[in-house]
């Protein structure tokens, strides 16, 4: 089966006073109906990947190379008119902070109807009908009255539901979720996650779910990709990555979550800070922070090493006994 999303060797460089290499050769392949959890810390390139997928990055200040194919379409070659059909029609996105991502001066119903009218070419009345369906679809109670509500009149969780309704209103094949639960409190978080999962199964969408919270990623993903300094350093099935984290950075991430830590015990943190993207060191970008790194790590790019056919990590120390010990620790 051909993947619905195929990203090959994508690089994104923001040009300007200093050139920032936000993405340095990202490969993502996603099958229909699959959920990929993209994790990494701030500035690792998660959001840039999503925006590049939608070609939302400012063209004047961005240099992009590589290829992006979504449902057989060459996204890099789309012109402005085709892009407008593509965005929201084939691929749509939900944002971290629904209060900011919804237009404050229009009602929810109007915002959804506007998107539907634009993509489906239906009448305004039909657009409103669809808006009502969608609000009911995301389990908003008394949806009819909610159509007339402004974003500031809703609670955070409800706003995020409305945002999801808006994103799914035109039946996209791919949903990009940019930390959709980060701004919500814990009880609402799990409701939104469950809702997203349910809708994803119902509609058979492929989802790229960006988060820095491993707990959230585990909850929703089929596969995990870990990003660091604009590269995917480890990718594999959820089970493989969590049970057998192979890149030292992934291990660091898993160790540094608070879940399961005992009271009074020191939390493990990864020493140091991510490299500056305008002055990337040669070789493995994680080497300066890595306990296992030696001189071979800083010479030339490191190709993915396969642990199993579906699980790979960009680390030279995979077969190394010291690596195995560190993994067991």
């Amino acid at each position: 089966m051909t993947p619905i999303i195929a990203i090959r060797d994508l690089t994104v460089c923001f040009t300007g006073e200093r050139n920032v290499n936000a993405l340095n050769g990202v490969d993502i392949s996603l099958a229909e109906g699959e959920v990929l959890g993209l994790i990494g810390e701030s500035g690792s390139g998660k959001s840039v990947t999503l925006k590049a997928l939608l070609r939302l990055l400012p063209p004047r200040r961005t240099r992009m190379t590589g290829s992006i194919h979504v449902a057989g379409r060459d996204v890099m070659a789309l012109d402005e008119a085709a892009l407008e059909d593509y965005r929201g029609g084939l691929v749509s996105m939900i944002f971290q902070e629904p209060m900011l991502a919804l237009d404050p001066v229009y009602t929810i119903g109007d915002q959804i109807a506007e998107a539907v009218v634009r993509h489906r070419g239906v009448s305004w009345a039909d657009g409103r009908k669809r808006a009502l369906e969608m609000l009911e679809g995301v389990r908003i109670r008394s949806a009819k009255r909610r159509l007339e509500a402004y974003p500031h009149e809703m609670s955070g969780g409800m706003r995020q539901r409305a945002m999801i309704a808006l994103a799914l209103s035109c039946g996209p094949k791919v949903l990009l979720a940019d930390e959709p639960t980060t701004a919500l409190d814990a009880t609402v978080q799990i409701q939104i996650l469950l809702l997203l999962r349910e809708l994803q199964r119902e509609m058979g969408m492929a989802v790229i779910f960006v988060t820095h919270d491993i707990g959230v990623a585990v909850e929703i993903s089929d596969r995990i990709a870990v990003m660091y300094a604009g590269r995917i350093v480890e990718t594999g099935s959820l089970r493989d990555v969590v049970k057998n984290p192979s890149h030292p950075y992934t291990r660091g991430l898993l160790h540094s979550t608070i879940h399961g830590a005992r009271r009074g015990e020191r939390l493990d943190a990864i020493p140091g800070a991510p490299p500056r993207l305008d002055r990337l060191p040669p070789g493995c970008p994680f080497a300066p922070r890595c306990a296992l790194a030696d001189t071979s790590c800083v010479q030339g790019d490191i190709a993915p090493v396969f642990v199993t056919p579906q699980h790979s990590a960009r680390c030279l120390k995979l077969g190394n006994p010291a690596h195995a010990r560190a993994g067991a620790a």
Binding site: K51, L54, L56, R60, E80, L83, E84, D85, Y86, R87, G88, G89, S92, M93, F95, Q96, E97, L100, A101, L102, D103, P104, V105, Y106, T107, E114, A115, R118, H119, R141, S142, R145, R146, E148, A149, Y150, H152, E153, M154, S155, G157, M158, M163, L166, A167, C170, T187, V188, Q191
Partner: protein, 295 residues
Amino acid sequence: MSVLADDLIDLAATRKSRGYWGNVGRRLLRDPVSMICAAILLLIALAAVFAPYLGLADPYLGSMIRRLRPIGTAGYPLGTDELGRDMLTRLVHGGRLSLLIGLLPVVFAFFIGTTLGIIAGYLGGVVNQLIMRTVDVFYAFPSVLLAIAISGALGGGLLNSLLSLTIVFIPPIVRVAESVTTGVRSLDFVDAARASGAGALTIMRVHILGNVLGPIFVYATSLISVCMILAAGLSFLGLGTKPPEPEWGLMLNTLRTAIYVNPWVAALPGVMIFTVSICFNLLSDGMRSAMDVRN
């Protein structure tokens, strides 16, 4: 339990769901200063509009023997001007032209300036430079001087003064529109709109306009008072309306010779200009604070 919470929020929302502009209006209604100003302006505007039907004296009918009567003279509640014409009639009739040339240029400048400003702010780059640097050229001149220069070059008359005032007020509105647009452009909902497939035109027309209209509108109302004073100044210099047309600026000009004979009457047109402009200013202040509901 969260279902219950949702229901409660639901109830609260339906009770107060009046929309953004509904809330602004309600807050404005509660502000006494704004309401007084609005009432005064409404009164003056209504008087001006219905001036011919108020049973007042003829604003053009002079009398050589009843010149410069003081305020309170029988038959002339506000006295007479230097040609013996009834001041009350002339002030009421003068409001028609004065309000017109105080409002129209700002309205025109509001439409043109907002359009240019949003285009410059949203598209950025070369387009922005082109529009904003052109605007800067006009900024090189003080607004009074610019109005006089354009009016002088085009010649006197009502239309020309309207045109010159419109040109004077476009640059500041473009500036404000451009700066609020650049502020709104980088917000998430513009990205969200783009991510859902909206084109540049839709985003500017729907999302940007809806969010910047408020601040620009408030700014434009504060320009009305400046415009009235400038218009009065043009008339005063003989570049705007021509005598015997009643217009506050022009009346101030022709009455200035009488300042030693009958200062109270001579000051009346000035009082009108002052009252109207300060009312517009206070009203725009009131609107500015009423629009802060969202934050």
